[in-house]
Symmetry: C2
Subunit: 382 residues, 2 copies
């Protein structure tokens, strides 16, 4: 076990540093569960001076353990040639990376989604609409037994006791939030860092609850949420959503973010596990949409026939996720992009097919150039 001081995080003392302060570049790889996230991608981002993340969602605890081991091994390789983060508080063999967990919700009563599955079942092969906790207890126990620098959460906030367990073993706790209320809940529970997920983000909304009745008051954007959060709380905020370029990174940093988290921007990297069809689809100028059709929880993906055909899919996660597994797998095998969830953020067409370390370098250099230009050309006289 690593002592808590090793990672400098996990404290409520606002003067404490967080791992972001030790990175060579404030670029965080968004966890992308369901394929794109690989140990190779995480290790490449960390090796280039950013912070790689492993998406533990949809995996068993055993597979997560294997992937964590793989990241450590890969990083040991990249760090000799790459640019390891300078980390005064971290041991020489410390690997800067994070693991993201889905916070389990409650089962949805069957009658609320039976009609939708009956409708799908007339046309598609379906799986068992089961509820589970995504192996939550085992994953959390493993992260206590063998800690990692950062554990981030999506779909909710861990309890104060769970946060305390992670703090006790030296891990920083980051919580994904989509509103000021969720930020306060997270800080009350002891979170060290907030990930502000804007409306433009690809994949699932990280909101604590998936409430169709709130859809009309549509989600706050990255820029709006960032300003609202920094006005309301005094902890580091990582901005996520719609960031695809160095200018985008510069924008959120200048707006007060401690770091920028990018997911879609890395989908085309060779190290990503992105399916070929998905890799190709993001290059096109297809609009994105929020949908519950594939998973029973609101997520942003490329517009396709399945999403358009099911605009009123109910909220029932993970039941609908499991039920649509076979239909998604069949479409993927058949090379049919009309019936697959092609998660992507609004700026997906700007994603580039270059190695992740090169992308981190490019984003960092572009960010520096655009921020310097803004300072010298636009607000020099103040």
């Amino acid at each position: 076990m690593r002592p808590r001081s090793q990672y400098q995080g996990g404290s409520h003392d606002k003067t404490d540093k967080v791992i972001i302060d030790e990175l060579r570049t404030p670029i965080v790889l968004a966890p992308m569960a369901g394929g794109p996230s690989t140990p190779e991608l995480a290790a490449a981002v960390s090796g280039a001076g950013g912070l790689g993340f492993l998406a533990a969602g949809y995996l068993t605890a055993g597979v997560v353990r294997e992937r964590i081991a793989a990241i450590r091994q890969l990083f040991a390789g990249t760090s000799t040639t790459g640019s390891p983060a300078k980390s005064p508080g971290r041991s020489a063999d410390g690997v800067p990376f994070g693991v993201n967990l889905f916070v389990p919700g409650a089962p949805t009563p069957g009658p609320r989604f039976a009609h939708y599955l009956a409708e799908l079942g007339r046309e598609f092969p379906l799986g068992d609409a089961k509820f589970d906790t995504d192996d939550w207890d085992a994953k959390l126990d493993d992260l206590i037994a063998d800690p990692v620098p950062v554990v981030s959460f999506t779909f909710g906030c861990p309890s104060s006791a769970e946060v305390a367990r992670l703090h006790a073993v030296g891990s920083e706790v980051w919580v994904t939030v989509t509103s000021v209320a969720e930020a306060h809940t997270s800080l009350d529970a002891g979170a060290d860092v907030l990930i502000a997920q804007g409306a433009e983000a690809g994949g699932h909304r990280g909101a604590f609850a998936d409430s169709p009745e709130d859809d009309a008051t549509d989600p706050l954007t990255t820029l709006a949420l960032l300003q609202l959060l920094t006005a309301a709380v005094d902890r580091p905020v990582v901005a996520a959503g719609g960031i695809a370029t160095g200018a985008g990174v510069a924008g959120v940093l200048a707006a007060g973010a401690a770091a920028a988290q990018l997911g879609t921007a890395f989908l085309r990297c060779p190290e990503a596990g992105t399916a070929p069809m998905h890799r190709q689809a993001v290059t096109e100028a297809t609009p994105t949409m929020l949908t519950r059709a594939f998973s029973g929880r609101r997520a942003r993906g490329l517009r396709n026939k399945f999403i358009l055909d099911h605009p009123d899919a109910p909220s029932a996660y993970p039941e609908i996720h499991y039920a649509t597994g076979p239909l998604r797998a069949a479409a993927r095998s058949a090379g049919n992009p009309d019936e697959v969830n092609l998660w992507a953020g609004q700026t997906h067409s700007l994603a580039t097919a270059i190695p992740a370390a090169e992308l981190v370098d490019r984003l960092s250099q572009e960010a520096k150039a655009t921020i310097e230009k803004a300072l010298s050309h636009r607000i020099h006289s103040y």
Copy 2:
């Protein structure tokens, strides 16, 4: 008539300067038709070194002429004590400001909105659901006869011939866009500057067409649109939507915007013509929504009963705007915020009740501080 060279704009030569380059601070006052925009507010922003805008929408050409005269007179006063823009190419009595026009659309066939008005008519006093062009021809003729530095457009793009007429008298042409396609159309027509309006913006969407069938592929956010536009075109982009703080201003500038346009942030300034009920309502943490219920065109406002009661209001602008005039007026008189359009952007709760010139100063200083901090704390090593 002012000679064209006076304002340095209006050219397709990409090396030409635009008026933004001459401002002391790259802060643009968003035109807010229907009350909030006043000559006093525009003059105060211009006097503080930004660029004030007069909203010509909903006004007759005659009233617009009066307000332009008022801005010039007011600015002559503020410029002696304020901080006039340094403008090598502008005459000593030049006033840096802009006028915003609504581009007229086509009438909507009555049967498309008759049902909605019949429904409203059972409960509310309604006006004549007329179509008009918002005095377009007269306003444009007046701006040719007595030019202003900048003419911006919302709800569409003027024709190449109309742009050429404005260029010929020395005015810069700015067009509000919400997509890359609209940006290309605008540049083809000769626009000098694009205003990128993100999803988070308050008031009407500036999209060229109001298409309910596109609602599901919900609007691009400010940060997303900014990155997509700067990747696609090589003209100055003014970012609009959700910018309420100096950090927000810094964010869009660092992300590549030539200037930040703010509307909601100025709603509580004493110079604004904002109705008292509206002024109070924006201070509360009410969520915003996109709605067609009041005007027949999608706009973002504070959630209230009327919007919630009419989620499927049809697209028919300005017919529904005119029809709901009496009901909005009645509710305003009665101090009833449930039946009034309280337009506001997503960050409305951050608006401050201070004089506009002071707000411009504060935003500029905060922007400089946050951008310098980002540069020194976050990306110094690159």
